[in-house]
Amino acid sequence: MAETIAILFVFFVLLAIGMVFFFNIKKVSIEQESEVLYNKKAVEIALKANYLPELGCRFDNIVRDNCLDTLRIKYAQEVMEDTDYYFDIFGFSKISVFQIYPEFEDLGNVYNKEQSGSKFLTRLPTLLYDPIQDEYTLGVINVETFY
């Protein structure tokens, strides 16, 4: 009798250890999967920001790929922060544009809805068009996605 109880005790202890281990492993796995999902979301937002027609260079109403208009960038934030339309597209993220050539220059934020917590940073090089000077410079679009 005592032997059976001892065996059962050991069995349940092992079962408990196994369950704790299993749930910990499952937790790690869920965390990894959610990170992949947030990763996908960050990439999606970066792509949307880089190809947003509102900011793109237009010539005779044709939008040029991989090109942002510096004049549109300048006035984008006040327009984009006044409406919920862009929150549905970008969620909690911060989109800023920098010129890196010929000189480094912060062109400001296009969209800024920050949230405390972790974030992903995605950088994409882009062409910047100055419609006043009719010149192209080189820039970077920084997209920080918060989760």
Partner: protein, 160 residues
């Protein structure tokens, strides 16, 4: 009587051994497939691929500073056509020297700061005319290619 108990005890220990073996196998399996699994970095692979193409396209269309030509592609084509002297001079340097200096400056201020390795190569046929690099891209790399008339090619590799 005691012999019978000993045999029963041995059978139970045998059962426990099977359970422990199964648990150990389960732990090894879990460690192998869950904990030691390489995290999928979609962002990194996408961004690296996007960086190579976007950077090359953007550099080629950018206006060089202190120079009368309107794009870097004009300078690079001139460098390939009139190698090694070049017909265009900017800031007292010929098109090859000037392109080398400015492209190095651009990539240094961007990709190098973001911890990427890269190789920017201008070729005519199989002859290499210009190279700007930060280490060699021997590992997995993303490439962007821009051909021009006259067997001129610009290759840009990004790796990390």
């Amino acid at each position: 009587m005691s012999k019978r108990f000993t045999k029963k005890g041995q059978m139970e220990i045998f059962g426990l051994l099977i359970i422990i073996t199964l648990i150990i196998l389960g732990v090894i399996f879990a460690l192998r497939f869950v904990v030691m699994k390489e995290p999928t970095n979609i962002q990194k692979s996408f961004v690296q691929e996007g960086i190579a193409q976007n950077m090359l396209d953007s550099i080629l269309d950018t206006k060089p500073n202190d120079c009368y030509v309107s794009t870097f592609s004009d300078l690079l084509v001139d460098c390939a056509d009139f190698y090694p002297l070049g017909a265009i001079y900017c800031d007292n340097l010929n098109s090859c020297e000037y392109s080398q200096r400015e492209i190095d400056k651009i990539l240094n201020n961007s990709l190098r700061n973001w911890s990427y390795d890269y190789e920017f190569i201008l070729e005519r046929g199989s002859t290499e005319l210009l190279r700007v690099q930060n280490n060699n891209c021997t590992m997995e790399r993303d490439a962007a290619l821009q051909p021009f008339p006259g067997s001129i090619e610009i290759k840009f590799y990004v790796c990390s």
